[in-house]
Amino acid sequence: MGPFITHTKYPKKKNSEDKTSATRACVQRILRERFCHQRLPDRPVGLESQYKHLLELLRRTAVHGESNSVLIVGPRGAGKTMLLRCALRELLELQEVKQNVLQVHLSGLLQTDDRIALKEITRQLHLENVVGDKVFGSFAENLVFLLEALKRGDKSSSRPVFFILEEFDLFAHHKNQTLLYNLLDVSQSAQAPVAVVGLTCRLDVLELLEKRVKSRFSHRQIHLLSCMSFCQYLDAFRSELALPDDFPDSKFSQEWNLNVSELCEEKSVQEILQKHFNSCKDFRSLHLLLLLALTRVSVSNPTLRAVDILEASRMSSADSKANILHGLSVLELCLIIAMKHLNDIYEGEPFNFQMVHNEFKKFIQRKSHSIHNFEKPVVIKAFEHLLQLELIRPVDGGVCKVQREYQLMRLMLDHTQVMEALQRYPQCPTDVKQWAISAFG
């Protein structure tokens, strides 16, 4: 980082340059932490009722010793983890909660097995020494032992435990759903106050649970189906880009926030945001867009402009397959056009290399003057390159009993993609273009 800011009565040019670079670095740091590291906002936006519900539930477990279970359901990027963490943060401000409550965070991605999950629970409850080398007959025994060990000194009651299960639907794929069964069983019986909070992106998660597990679940679900309007989305855009009040250089932060507000009023920016809002409303994709716009802020370009937002939008919504098609050689492009013609004539039935080569040869003989008549092995190599790029795929997963020239394949592109790619192809020979446009090869 640059040297520190020194305040003198007549600041030299050098100091002011360093000051602006330090300020800029500070802006980047704050905003990047918000966009990349998902720093928690002060209050969850647009989710007030869900937040209250969750907070109330967790408080009842932590303070009053009531056992609960709840599922937070919402699409990816809706803010499930953010909501939970905000609730935990607020709850832990209470002294008694902070001292008593234990948290166990499990993830379906990491704990792929019940055995691993149990070890992780033991580890997070810091009970490895207590368990030692004991061998347990069943999962249930082990879990009950762990919870017994958490009893407070006077043996009258256990400490409340929060079990937080991310990617809850993946736990439902474990054998017999043992972990879920036992956790929910504990939450139903009066053994120890536990709160089982599951976070999942699947709306049909209850269908995945076995009957005995489902019956022990309290059927409490908190849905995070975003019903943000476009105005709220614009406000979110503005607040996500705004610098906080405790920014060291208040003059700079005021200018920056003013610039952001002006940006929100611009027609072009609103159009871009409308397009994004129509395709994906969640905060995660907004953060991605804002990060891409932020990367264009540099020494030469110290403030955000509308063109930055435009370029960021273009970058995030580029068509990958079109980009790959742009880099193919002319021979490979001709093969793709031949496949497109075969698809048009035979209505999407799978083809093999011989048929494609036949179409290609017809084109070479009748219509082409710029494409050289390549040898068959060279054409096979081009075909195999397309196979490697997964632009074509074998129909039956590549059974090798069939000779490679006769293996049936499908084209993984549709008509419009091929035609668009052709428009943008650099220095495309005209006879190839004509061939593509013509109706029947």
């Binding site: 980047q28 540099s298 990958s320 035979y346 997964e390």
Partner: protein, 491 residues
């Protein structure tokens, strides 16, 4: 101070400006695809400044970076901007895609090495199991002690646990990068590996970024229930001018760069419409340059006489396309062939099975197998029975080109049919001895015939002919048999 250094940076950049089209919104239709690369609008100087800019990095280092990354300044600049300063957070996962040899690994690894950022570069081809991937990552980021903490057959859970443990002792002052090449192989490993790696920053709660490099687009990676979407970055293919520029960097010091450029131009003229892979072109350029310079060394032509040089090298390059390019012939063999100067000798390629010598009856068995595979059974009578009487021409009319058997592939046939055709095709009388049957088995071993159906089916084994038309034509020529007359698709 900073303004002055950026001015110097601008001057240096201008002097080294290659003759390459910059992407801009106005000329987009001419040169660039929509949205593939961040298009810089505005003045030229702004483009250059936003090219490679890294705060706190000395100008000399930036200049050496630019020299090491020809024609990739824009992409390197974008990457640097996304990576940000080392103390700041980077986006948890970045997915870089583009064709082979477009410089993806080269750019990212050069940047990380030159700027001395902590990173782990792992190629997924080497990681047969996920455990190898975890071990290599921990080894590169934290050293051998942390890699030893992993248990045998580690899972992602163990990796995250060990990472957290080690990270608690060595918290990240700078962003750590994990670069995974050939990332498409991650899809075939355990199902939780790819989604877990994409969210690694959240799972380990550390300043780490995972960069995935692949040739396949992201749409084919996405798991069923979704995952954390990475930042997609495209490395476009090199244009013809850029390829020329990069290939010219390999020039031989004993000849002028203009001569080498003209050689590369000729090479691109032959190969550009077939292959745009930089690595392949470099290999071909290296192999054939000595042949190109032959007339100069012999004194037959001068450097300026490009036409004569072209006439000398062009047939040679065309032959290279059929042999070395297809890897039918090794580079050593190719080099020897150039020394020999006997241009008449055809190079024997790997798949040129014409040098397989078959016994007389085997050849006829193969021909009979080909006829059995590619002729429908109902036409056998017409072709192979001496007095078949009148057969209506209409029943042979092909309705649809698609049903041509040569397009659909060989059909299986039973052994009896093969023998029937064989006896009618062979001109002499052959007794059905064991030697004939053993020749059929040896044809199967040579993979000229494939056995279809179960091994246990001793009663009527079925076969398919696995040779191409060119091969069978060559074979039938050696026994003076006109096979085309007997093929249904060619009447």
């Amino acid at each position: 101070m900073e303004l002055r250094t950026t001015n110097i940076c601008m001057k240096n950049f201008k002097s080294r400006l290659p003759d390459v089209t910059f992407y801009s919104r106005e000329s987009e239709a001419a040169c660039g695809p929509r949205g593939s690369v961040v298009g810089f609008s505005g003045s030229v100087s702004e483009k250059m400044l936003s090219g490679l800019h890294y705060p706190g990095c000395p100008e000399a280092r930036l200049r050496s970076l630019r020299e090491k990354l020809p024609c990739r300044e824009v992409q390197a600049g974008t990457l640097l901007a996304i990576m940000g300063e080392p103390e700041q957070y980077c986006y948890p996962s970045i997915f870089i895609y583009g064709h082979r040899a477009t410089g993806k690994s080269h750019v990212i690894l050069t940047l990380l090495k030159e700027l001395e950022l902590p990173h782990a570069a792992v190629s997924c081809v080497e990681c047969v199991s996920a455990g190898l991937l975890f071990e290599q990552t921990l080894l590169a980021l934290f050293g051998a002690d942390s890699a030893a903490l992993l248990p045998r057959l580690p899972s992602l859970s163990d990796f995250v646990r060990v990472y957290r443990q080690v990270c608690a002792q060595q918290p990240a002052k700078q962003t750590r990068y994990i670069v995974l090449e050939r990332a498409e192989l991650l899809r075939d490993m355990e199902a939780n590996l790819l989604p877990g790696l994409l969210r690694l920053q959240e799972l380990v709660d550390d300043n780490v970024a995972v960069i995935l490099l692949s040739e396949i687009v992201w749409d084919k990676f996405r798991p069923n229930t979704g995952c954390f979407e990475p930042l997609l970055l495209h490395f476009p293919d090199y244009t013809k001018a850029e390829l020329l520029q990069i290939l010219s960097l390999d020039s031989n010091p004993s000849y002028t760069p203009e001569l080498y450029s003209s050689y590369i131009n000729i090479l691109l003229g032959v190969f550009y419409s077939v292959c745009r892979d930089l690595r392949e072109l470099r290999h071909l350029a290296a192999l054939n340059f000595s042949k190109f310079c032959e007339p100069l060394e012999k004194g037959e032509a001068k450097e300026g006489n490009t036409h004569k040089l072209w006439r000398n090298i062009e047939p040679h390059l065309k032959r290279a396309m059929q042999t070395v390019y297809l890897r039918e012939v090794s580079s050593v063999q190719w080099g020897q062939q150039q020394m020999d100067e006997k241009e008449a000798t055809a190079l024997r390629g790997l798949s040129a099975l014409a040098h397989v010598e078959l016994p007389y009856y085997s050849k006829f068995l193969l021909i009979a197998a080909y006829l059995a595979s590619y002729n429908p059974a109902r036409t056998d009578r017409r072709f192979f029975v001496k007095h078949h009487g009148k057969m209506k021409k209409t029943s042979f009319l092909k309705k649809h080109e698609k049903t041509s058997n040569h397009l659909l592939g060989p059909k299986p046939f039973p052994l009896d049919r093969l023998l029937a055709i064989f006896y009618s095709v062979v001109d002499s009388r052959v007794a059905p001895t064991a030697s004939v049957f053993s020749q059929i088995s040896s044809l199967v071993t040579l993979q000229l015939l494939t056995q279809v159906g179960h091994d246990d089916q001793l009663d009527t084994p079925k076969y398919k002919c696995a040779v191409s038309l060119d091969f069978i034509l060559a074979i039938s020529r050696t026994v003076s048999f006109d096979i085309v007359r007997y093929l249904y698709d060619f009447i």
